[in-house]
Subunit: 447 residues, 2 copies
């Protein structure tokens, strides 16, 4: 057979015969952002949302493994054989560090849950997938989500073909009136609102948080309209220095209304890929006529998806937890100071460059923690503006429109403070200010 | 609010409002098998298919990590910062050990592929999910699968709601006539046969293998009917001592007809949860009008599912690969001897206990490698028989009916040799022979 013969026979494919998620604009936009970052490697990035690398140390990994093995021996009474089997073999589908995560939730978040209601996942992304896959029975099931929102939730919804209905955000968190309107609109459309997804603390991308009153109101709305709440909390620990943390929704939840999505990506490290979900809801209709935990239903799905979260990765995360008495607050003292300092430097730097009296055309929010600040500008902050700024001024940021599943955020950009030094923040803001002046002037000319 | 008030408001669920996969008999059957094993912990298990634990050593893990770091420095020119970032941060969605896996495929399997066509996954289970999710565009897409077959493939198909059509197995592998009949039947039903899944070497559960002629015929059928082949190869390395390995389908594939599913669960260890998929098919219809690798489309789905495979787990697997020059054959010399010896002991033990001349009612196949042997018995080898044998004779095995997605295998049982000692094989077979005599006599009485 000659080369061209081989080509004719080749078992090749076409995107129009593959799943629709692969043609989704959300995916294309994330790829675009990565490509821009790769094309301008010397630009200062106020776009990257990954955690600081200042405190990573390769030697920690072996120590964490050793600490977990010691815990298995001392606390769980494991012999050498059981320690080996725990690390090397397949393991419990729901994970092997659920008891340690329950201790973390109790001491850092004031959440008291049965460890059996925890499923350890391959990052929080898998947790989102498990929950949506379970809840999406047919095309009538809908998940409501804060908009602008986290693209990971959108991705998981696309994979299970579940409709997303957006709920507006306000400067102070969620527009609760809009939430109720949307719940009613979903029902009026003959569909079922199953859950509402949000990040109540220092949201990605907006940095917004719900105050205590809004948290209680949200729980009341969820109860009244029989809706689950999917609470995602990757940044809650990173409260700015002068603030006081508010209780998570799960800590306030007295009726198993909240499914809590946890991530260790920012509090341990991303490369361990450990997330988890707390699903203490009871599910009626088990084979024996009784009820099981929703976590056990999610575990069944996990058994068909990844079988179990790598025990070696769980062991490393557990070692870090154990080294700090299962308190991620204690484990992240330096990180909290770094992010808090960077956020203050960014906000102060914005104040100095855009005095509030002088220029009402540029404004921004002032999150009290987390990684992100949103800036509103008097021009289209789109992909073209991003590429222009990268090429002419050497600064990267993220167009907020990427976080809307449709239209929105056209005049806004997201700045991130997590992986930049103080000098980079100052230089980055200088460059951003030049870009804003440049594009604002152009906008003025075209008006 | 009192306790009963809380109960009334509780956000609880019911299985009839969750995804249908959660009510699937395949899931219930796996749970049943695990429960039986847990209820009879002292029984000798000829059921467990996990790999041998004889050669696991916790100290290996830190060494593997160090070897991978040295490779990054020496071969990839990474500085300390890049080594840290590679292990601790988010990473390339398709994985960080693709080049090492390509070397393994070249030296162990005679498969030459561009490392870019490899996606590293959280076990082979995630690889199956990615492929089926990509191929399942709508309800017309069908995957054909060998029956009896691996339950993991069934699970992944359930999650994406993709129809499975069974293809019969023969003593010598696949019934290729039945495959063609089924392809035509799928088309006649107005549906699209997208792929055919099989384990060509020492299949789970049957132990059957395709001979070389059948491999060529299968590739020809796939080309003629424009079907992809999903080749799953977890056991191929474990050829019995006296045999010679046959080329994998992927090694024979000259037209990108085969998607190769790899697993390191048996050749490295399960707890690292490293699998991979080789998807070198070209996909037309990219945004720029060109084509991309199917691996890149799978990577997009992975970005919505688990983001990336834990770099720390990839690093550990890579360390083991590097320590053996990327040859898993070299890395598994002791394991190959152990499995080969156990298989011979089991087959010899069956010969001694059931002389072929004496008793035609008990028969079994003689796989030339792998973990499994299938025994045909003159009674119903079902869950009841399994529980009876566990309780009365202290021996565990797996009813073959669990591997049929419907009916089949009612008089067959699967024996596994992977995680038992020679003494356990002898004692287990003694017990099994007693059970078989007991139930055969009962069956005779009821006739």
């Amino acid at each position: 057979m000659n080369d061209s013969g081989v080509e004719l026979l080749a078992a090749d494919l076409s995107t129009d015969r593959l799943h629709a998620a692969l043609r989704d604009p959300a995916l294309a936009s994330m790829n675009f952002l990565n490509q821009v970052a790769n094309r301008f490697p010397k630009a200062i990035s106020l776009a990257a949302g990954r955690p600081s690398e200042d405190f990573f140390d390769v030697d920690d990994l072996s120590r964490y493994l050793r600490i977990f093995c010691e815990y298995l021996t001392a606390e769980k009474g494991a012999d050498v054989e059981l320690v080996r089997r725990t690390l090397f073999q397949y393991g419990r589908t729901k994970g092997i560090i659920h008891e340690l995560l329950a201790r973390h939730l109790a001491c850092d978040e004031g959440i008291d849950v049965d460890p059996e209601s925890i499923v350890v996942t391959v990052g929080c992304q898998e947790a989102m997938f498990l929950v949506l896959r379970a809840l999406r029975m047919d095309e009538h099931d809908v998940v409501l989500t804060v908009s602008p929102g986290y693209v990971g939730l959108t991705g998981a919804a696309r994979l299970v073909e579940m409709s997303l209905w957006p709920v507006r955000e306000t400067k102070d968190g969620i527009d609760l009136d809009h939430l109720v309107e949307q719940i009613e609109a979903v029902r009026a459309a003959g569909k079922r609102p199953r859950a509402f997804y949000l990040v109540p603390d220092f949201a990605n991308p907006s940095g917004a948080s719900l105050d205590l009153k809004a948290r209680h109101q949200l729980l009341a709305i969820a109860a009244e309209h029989d809706l689950l709440i999917l609470e995602d909390n990757p940044y809650g620990l990173f409260q700015a220095e002068d603030g006081q943390r508010l209780p998570t929704l799960k800590a306030l939840d007295t009726s198993r209304r909240v499914i809590y999505l946890g991530s260790l990506a920012k509090t341990c490290f991303p490369g361990v890929r450990i997330g988890f979900v707390v699903a203490d809801q009871r599910v009626a209709g088990a084979d024996d006529g009784g009820s099981v935990l929703f976590a056990d239903e999610l575990s069944k799905i996990k058994s068909m998806l990844t079988v179990n979260t790598p025990p070696v990765a769980q062991a490393i995360a557990a070692g870090k937890l154990l080294e700090h008495g299962c308190s991620l607050t204690n484990a992240n003292v330096r990180e909290m100071q770094l992010y808090s300092r960077n956020l203050r430097l960014l906000l102060d730097g914005m104040d100095r460059r855009f005095p509030r009296g002088d220029n009402h055309q540029v404004s921004w929010n002032t999150p009290r923690g987390g990684f992100f600040v949103v800036v509103t500008v008097p021009f289209l902050a789109d992909n073209t503006a991003l590429e222009y700024g990268a090429s002419k001024y050497g600064v990267l940021w993220t167009p907020m429109s990427h976080f809307y599943d449709g239209c929105g955020g056209e005049n806004q950009l997201r700045l991130s403070v997590s992986v930049v030094s103080p000098d980079e923040i100052e230089a980055g803001l200088d460059r951003l200010a030049m870009l804003i002046a440049d594009l604002s002037a152009k906008e003025l000319c075209t008006q």
